[in-house]
């Protein structure tokens, strides 16, 4: 009898192969989440969908780094996930692809000093969620130029004047950004915990304690 999909390799694979295999597996996982759950949530048109998905994605990248802390892993996985997103049916996918890549880059940056630190995980999640929440404006800046922001500032001022407090619009924006950062940080911390427990589970499996 021949067994395919063996769980344990006969010889340890090369570190470079393992790095890219990790990037492929976790990038594909993130891509699958984006294609399936992402498409579903975007169809529902719920608020903060992008930030929620970014928090999930960042959590996944943080979890992956607990299994294998090699530097560059998050960026490589994000590159793979972005290109997997290109398989989404219909629509212009350029924006989401750039978004995923930027989120991966921010997670990589936050985890660079200490890939397994809790603080880095929280910062990674917060940055990714903030990126996703503000990506629309970044893309609008790229498409329409800086004039659009002058228009937004003018609108905020005008709205503040109507409310009787000229700066209130800016405070509302700041509060929303804080909420996004908090959501992302929670995602990052959850990813950190899940990753630690998954690594411990794999260690126990390797030691033969778990079937």
């Amino acid at each position: 009898m021949i067994t395919v999909q063996a769980s344990a390799p006969a010889a340890p694979p090369a570190a470079r192969d393992l790095f890219w295999a990790h990037a492929a597996a976790f990038g594909a996982f993130w891509g699958t989440l984006e294609i399936t759950l992402g498409s579903f949530l975007h169809t529902l048109r719920l608020p903060f969908t992008g930030a929620l998905l970014a928090a999930l994605g960042a959590g996944l990248l943080v979890a992956a780094r607990q299994l294998r802390p090699a530097r560059g892993g998050s960026l490589a996985a994000a590159g793979i996930a972005a290109l997997c997103k290109s398989l989404s049916p219909g629509g212009v996918i350029f924006g989401p692809m750039v978004g995923i890549l930027l989120e991966g880059a921010l997670v990589e940056l936050a985890l660079l000093p200490a890939p397994r630190a809790r603080l880095g995980a929280a910062v990674a999640g917060a940055l990714a969620a903030l990126m996703a929440g503000t990506q629309k404006f970044v893309v609008q800046f790229l498409f329409y130029g800086g004039t659009l922001f002058e228009l937004y500032v003018a609108l905020l001022r005008r709205a503040g004047e109507w409310l009787g407090a000229p700066d209130s619009g800016f405070w509302i924006v700041a509060a929303l950004l804080g909420l996004l950062a908090l959501l992302g940080a929670l995602g990052g911390l959850l990813g950190w915990k899940v990753g630690r427990d998954a690594a411990a589970l794999l260690d126990r499996q390797a030691a033969g304690q778990v079937a």
Binding site: M1, T3, A6, P9, L18, A21, A28
Partner: protein, 380 residues
């Protein structure tokens, strides 16, 4: 009609029009937009169709008008409304730039999909990234199934109300651990010596039409092939080959059988491995049996059914060597293959290009009727 211009020329037009945008001059930006839209009309109308997004256009027009109303000194009266000419010009420039970049992104995103991107990555030297991407594309269906299964396990089939946070957490840990294991497996497979692939399909010497019916695990590839085979047989076409029906215990697939389509003979083939989630154990005698059934079917039938071409075949194993070894003078003119989603490209690289790729047709659908008609025509 769409022109087939060389890709470097289209890229040069894209870069040229992009450069025109840099000055920030309204007329130049407008010229760049017209040039690029004209190019798309000639070379890629599909990209133009993707620009039909009413929300985007409504937003663009709103910001142009908003600029006229809110930015700069109101020095012009337009339709009885005092607006700023400078602001309106800035708004129109924004819209023109937005439309141009959107059209460019629409075209660019179509170039970034599938094999085009993988070829590009190879060309620019990112070979390892390209390889990892191919692996990732191959893993997508498996991971989608893992996610669906995990979702079912979390809710226990009771919907969202049945979700317990603790269970959700444990499932997340399991899924991440399984993905880690998957990575180790992929890296280990790469470390193995490459499987010797025989030279390209010998069957190329006859006029052969190969169809890939793409489906995920459990989507119905086997039942579709079986139904198509029966319909063809009713219409007087001889059909051979192999089917690989799943063996189930409750909702769980616990193994596979083999069926010789020509004779109707069946035998067990694979059983689930001892460790859950770690694959199936195949009976080596089953491979010999299926090889003979394929050879017999190819020799004695007009249409050959080949079921369950998947990751093994993508690596040059499984049913692939017997298919490559089929005699050039075989009788079958059409191969109807059930192919696991995500494996079609790798299999085509070993077996030769598919003449037609399509998702599984629904029973009695127009697609199914059209497919059967085409198969009958080719087989005859």
């Amino acid at each position: 009609m769409t022109l087939r211009l060389p890709p470097p020329l289209v890229l040069a037009v894209a870069l040229g029009t992009l450069a025109l945008q840099f000055s920030g001059d309204l007329l130049r930006s407008l010229l760049a937009l017209v040039l690029w839209i004209g190019t798309l009309v000639l070379v890629d109308r599909q990209s133009l169709r993707r620009l039909w997004l009413p929300r985007f256009w409504a937003f663009s027009i709103a910001i142009a008008l908003g600029s006229g109303l809110l930015l700069g000194e109101r020095d012009t009266v337009w339709l009885g409304l005092a607006i700023s000419g400078k602001g309106l010009r800035a708004g129109v420039l924004m819209v023109v730039r937005g439309a141009y970049l959107f059209a460019l992104a629409s075209w660019g995103s179509r170039q970034l999909t599938g094999t085009g991107m993988r070829r590009l990555l190879r060309r620019i030297g990112l070979i390892r990234f390209g390889e990892a991407l191919e692996v990732a594309f191959g893993l997508l269906p498996e991971l989608a199934t893992t996610l669906r299964r995990a979702g079912g396990e979390v809710s226990g089939g009771r919907g969202l109300r049945g979700v317990r946070p603790g269970h959700f957490y444990q499932t997340a840990v399991q899924v991440v651990a399984q993905t880690g294991l998957l990575a180790i497996r992929v890296a280990s497979e790469k470390a193995r010596p490459a499987v010797e692939t025989p030279p390209p399909a010998p069957a190329a010497s006859r006029i052969l039409w190969r169809i890939a019916l793409i489906g995920e695990r459990g989507e119905g590839k086997t039942s579709t092939l079986q139904r198509l085979g029966e319909r063809l047989r009713e219409q007087g076409v001889t059909v051979g080959g192999i089917l690989q029906p799943g063996v189930h215990e409750g909702d769980q697939r616990v193994g596979y059988g083999l069926r010789d389509v020509l004779t109707g003979e069946e035998r067990p083939f694979a059983t689930k491995g001892a460790q859950a989630g770690l694959g199936f154990t195949f009976d080596p005698a089953g491979w010999t049996w299926s090889r003979d059934a394929l050879a017999r079917g190819d020799e004695d039938s007009e249409v050959l059914l080949v079921d369950e071409l998947g990751r093994l075949e993508a690596r040059g194993e499984g049913h692939l060597p017997p298919l490559l070894a089929l005699a050039p003078e075989g009788r079958a003119r059409v191969w109807l293959c059930g192919v696991r989603a995500g494996c079609e490209t790798e299999i085509a690289q070993r077996l030769g290009p598919w003449d037609r790729l399509q998702p599984l047709p629904a029973p009695g659908s127009a697609e199914e009727e059209e497919l059967l008609q085409e198969v009958r025509r080719r087989a005859g």
